[in-house]
Amino acid sequence: MAKTAELEKLLEQVATRDRDAFGDLYALTSGKLFGVCLRILASRPKAQAALWSAFVQIWQDAKSLQTSGLRPMTWMIHIAHQKSIQRLRLDLTDVSQETLADEAQTEGEWPEDLVLKPSEHGQLINCMEVLPWERSAVFRLAFVEGETYPDLAAHFDLPVDTMRTWVRQDLHILSECLDR
């Protein structure tokens, strides 16, 4: 099981250009990160391109984990998430040839025993329960599916300004509940 301390150590080593550590980090996290990319992009070639960019950034920016204030898995999911959202919004079609070539290959086997540690922060889910169901769904649609305010407004058949007001009010409620 990949522990936070283990991932922190690996990322520290990656920051010093340790290739073996990068390989270990990839083995431990690529399944989760690819899952996140696929969920947002719903297309294997696009998800692979996003994953590719994410790992390039992880290699190049490993040092910045220390100043981000984030746990290592959050930091990496955040990068994979950002790369996927960028791709989703730009609707990039010029996926690199190298990445497309990989698509033709068969899927690798993911070792069953490498289950990532579930997040310790279950508090958000509890706090979201105080919101009406459709309003808690907004957070999933925005964060996980990459929907924008206009997408969300269309989804709920509401004006964009009303949508924005909902989100801001609910962020305030969540912030109080999370005691931030």
Partner: protein, 112 residues
């Protein structure tokens, strides 16, 4: 706006940023502030730690075989190629230098 209002506004703004809901211009402005405002970075990090739990139920999917090899090639081979180029550059300079030396020696011998 009171200090407490500003604090709340920043918290909400950081939440909208973490959710990916800001417009391009708002995003650019927020990112510029992130560079210089540690408190804003903390708000953002807190929201991200919370929102990332929404991905907990996303299962792992193995990237294709060969993906890592491609990534390694892209990240690690490029500097080696540059290194080889530098080395071959040194070799060319060495051969040229030696050739010049030989010609100079030959000219000296002829002059003698």
């Amino acid at each position: 706006m009171t200090q407490s209002d500003a604090k709340n506004t920043d918290k909400i703004l950081a939440g909208e940023y973490a959710l990916g809901l800001l417009s391009d211009q708002e995003k650019t402005e927020f990112e510029a502030r992130l560079e210089t405002e540690p408190q804003l970075r903390r708000y953002h990090a807190n929201w991200l730690e919370d929102f990332v739990t929404l991905t907990d139920d996303i299962g792992e999917v193995a990237p294709p075989v060969g993906f890592y090899a491609g990534l390694e090639k892209r990240l690690f081979d490029a500097p080696q190629v540059a290194e080889q180029a530098t080395q071959s550059g040194s070799l060319v300079r060495f051969v040229l230098g030696a050739a010049v030396a030989v010609v100079v020696c030959a000219l000296i011998l002829v002059a003698l």
